[in-house]
């Protein structure tokens, strides 16, 4: 652990993203950045707090729709839109969190899925007069340029999202080192002992739930700004497993997993799809392989090798 200090990790992450940005098209880079933020929330929930959720699109959509409502009906500043998306994610977590985090992990997975389904139909049908149903809300033209960094332009959006991703990554890195991080891991494997040591499992999980899903809502807001429109598609049921899949693809409980997984996933989706089609089939087989090979994921398998290289050369 000490041999692979965290600033090296950040440098590596920077490096990876910079490479992506230089060699690959901008939309691809932007998608990866947003997607990795999305997955970071899910990965924290799964790897640290021990909760698997098949309903992350619900929180993604919470952020996206809140941002979209604001930009479509009320205002024009995308930053305020993001802020509103994040606050909506917080409110959503505060409402459903106390109910959900009391559940056993398997029920937790399903209740979130149910929430995503509810959200989908609410946006598609129930609130159709406001959300314009399947057509979605289009507000790209509504947004005004912002000073300093104009996130309505893809290039500068990338810079903003990139910095945001790093900040979130650093936050999770910090969280892992805190007593909270230790409590969360503890609660994941032995909730009885946590209680009899005098901590509250509920508080630990609730807090983790909030952190994870506010992050997810933030990713949703970024999607909204970047695409300039939001439709119910964002929370459709067949996208529900994506973040979990990518978390596992990248390696559960590793900090770089979400990034590596997002690159691999988006890469396969965008690049391989053009070559062989059926990219999801490909990912399916890859997942089976990864889990049979020891659940470590891409990053989990790479990390020990990299550590060897790094510790051999620098320490």
């Amino acid at each position: 652990m000490n041999t692979f200090r965290w600033w090296r990790g950040i440098l590596l992450a920077f490096f990876l993203l910079a490479i992506i940005r230089v060699f690959l098209p901008l939309p691809f880079s932007n998608e990866i950045i947003i997607f990795s933020i999305y997955v970071m929330g899910c990965s924290f929930l799964l790897g640290r707090v021990g909760f698997i959720s098949f309903g992350q699109p619900a929180y993604l959509a919470t952020g996206a729709y809140a941002t979209a409502f604001y930009l479509f009906y009320f205002g024009a500043n995308p930053f305020i839109g993001i802020l509103i998306g994040v606050v909506a994610g917080l409110v959503m977590s505060l409402i459903v969190g106390p109910l959900f985090v009391r559940l056993r992990s398997d029920y937790f997975a399903l209740v979130n899925l149910a929430l995503a389904v509810i959200f989908y139909y609410t946006m598609q049908k129930v609130l159709a007069p406001i959300t314009q149903g399947d057509n979605g809300l289009w507000f790209l033209a509504n947004m005004t340029s912002t000073p300093i960094i104009d996130i309505t332009r893809p290039k500068e959006f990338f810079t903003f999202a990139f910095l945001a991703a790093l900040a979130i990554w650093a936050l999770f890195k910090y969280l892992n080192d805190t007593l909270y991080g230790a409590c969360a891991l503890a609660s994941k494997v032995n909730e009885d002992k946590v209680q009899f040591l005098g901590y509250s499992n509920f508080k630990i999980r609730f807090f983790g739930f909030i952190v994870a899903n506010v992050t997810t809502a933030f990713a949703g807001s970024l999607y909204a700004i970047y695409l300039g429109f939001v439709s119910p598609e964002i929370t459709s049921a067949h996208r529900c497993a994506d973040p979990v899949v990518v978390t596992i693809l990248g390696g559960v409980g590793t900090l770089y997993g979400p990034l590596v997984g997002a690159i691999a996933f988006t890469g396969m989706k965008d690049l391989i799809a053009g070559l062989i089609g059926n990219w999801e089939l490909f990912i399916g087989f890859l997942l089976v392989f990864i889990m049979l090979a020891g659940e470590k994921g891409i990053w989990g398998s790479l990390e020990p090798q990299l550590k060897k290289v790094f510790s051999g050369k620098r320490v």
Binding site: L185, N190, K193, Q195, F196, L197, G198, Y199
Partner: protein, 265 residues
């Protein structure tokens, strides 16, 4: 028995716990005084662990009341009982296997000595507390130096057992409840653990469930014998084991020439 008993600290009145047909703990009245060092023995399945679970709040009793310092705590959740000063260990060693040994101790230390709201959990790193004197002292006492940075899942049973007891003792609870703390320990480890516990006599209330009573005979001030969910004897060590009912019903106790040797399952 010790001459001057402190105020009562734990009291149960008629606590009963059933598992289906089975009455695991049957109308047990029990009184523990401050700074007493007491033991509970009984054959496997006589209800000792279940009684511990009732006292510490692992589950509520079907009937009866549990008091802590005169206050009814029957429905109080475990973490609040810990805050009141109760701490237990588990018969099947219970630690955080995915954390380093030292961080297991840090978690126990932090709860006991620092403000530990979510905010404080968030603003403190583990690293900051690992070198704390109290933690380092307990690491030494329990000879965990060599494994301190290792994840608990790589530890042997004896080391894990020592760690769990260390976590409990580190927190300096008012009442320490140990469920078969010596099981799985080597002879020298047992001696070491008992000598640590001895240092706490007079300042802490200690309640031990132990199988091998020979280990704790010169240590306990008081003994309670359980049989099929009931308390069948309670008092001084010698008198308890001479009690005819204990001898009759608790047939597992071998009586050799040099007195009571062992209670085995």
């Amino acid at each position: 028995m010790s001459t001057n008993l402190g105020a009562e600290i734990i009291k149960t009145v008629g606590v009963t716990k059933r598992f289906g047909e089975l009455v695991a703990v049957n109308k047990v009245d029990y009184l523990l005084h401050e700074n007493e060092v007491a033991g509970i023995i009984g054959a496997n399945g006589s209800g000792k662990t279940t009684f511990f679970n009732l006292v510490t709040g692992y589950f509520p009793p079907d009937e009866g009341t549990v008091y802590y310092k005169g206050e009814d705590i029957t429905g109080t959740p475990p973490e609040q009982r810990v805050a009141m000063g109760m701490m237990r260990t588990f018969q099947l060693t219970s630690t955080f296997d995915n954390l380093a040994v030292i961080d297991n101790l840090v978690l126990s230390y932090f709860r006991a000595y620092q403000k530990h709201s979510l905010f404080h959990l968030f603003t403190n790193t583990c690293k900051k507390h690992r070198k704390n004197e109290k933690i380092q002292a307990i690491v030494e006492t329990f000879e965990l130096q060599d494994v301190a940075d290792r994840e608990v899942r790589h530890l042997g049973l004896g080391e894990k057992r020592r760690l769990e007891i260390a976590m409990a003792i580190l927190a300096e609870p008012k009442v320490l409840l140990l469920d078969e703390p010596l099981a799985g320990l080597a002879e020298n480890e047992i001696k070491a653990v008992l000598s640590v516990l001895r240092r706490h006599i007079g300042t802490q209330t200690i309640l031990i469930v132990e199988h091998k009573i020979s280990h704790v005979e010169d240590f306990l001030q008081r003994l309670t014998v359980m049989h099929e969910g009931r308390v069948i004897a309670d008092g001084g060590y010698e008198e308890c084991l001479r009690d005819p009912e204990v001898r009759r019903s608790y047939w597992q106790i071998d009586v050799s020439e040099d007195g009571v040797e062992e209670a085995c399952s």
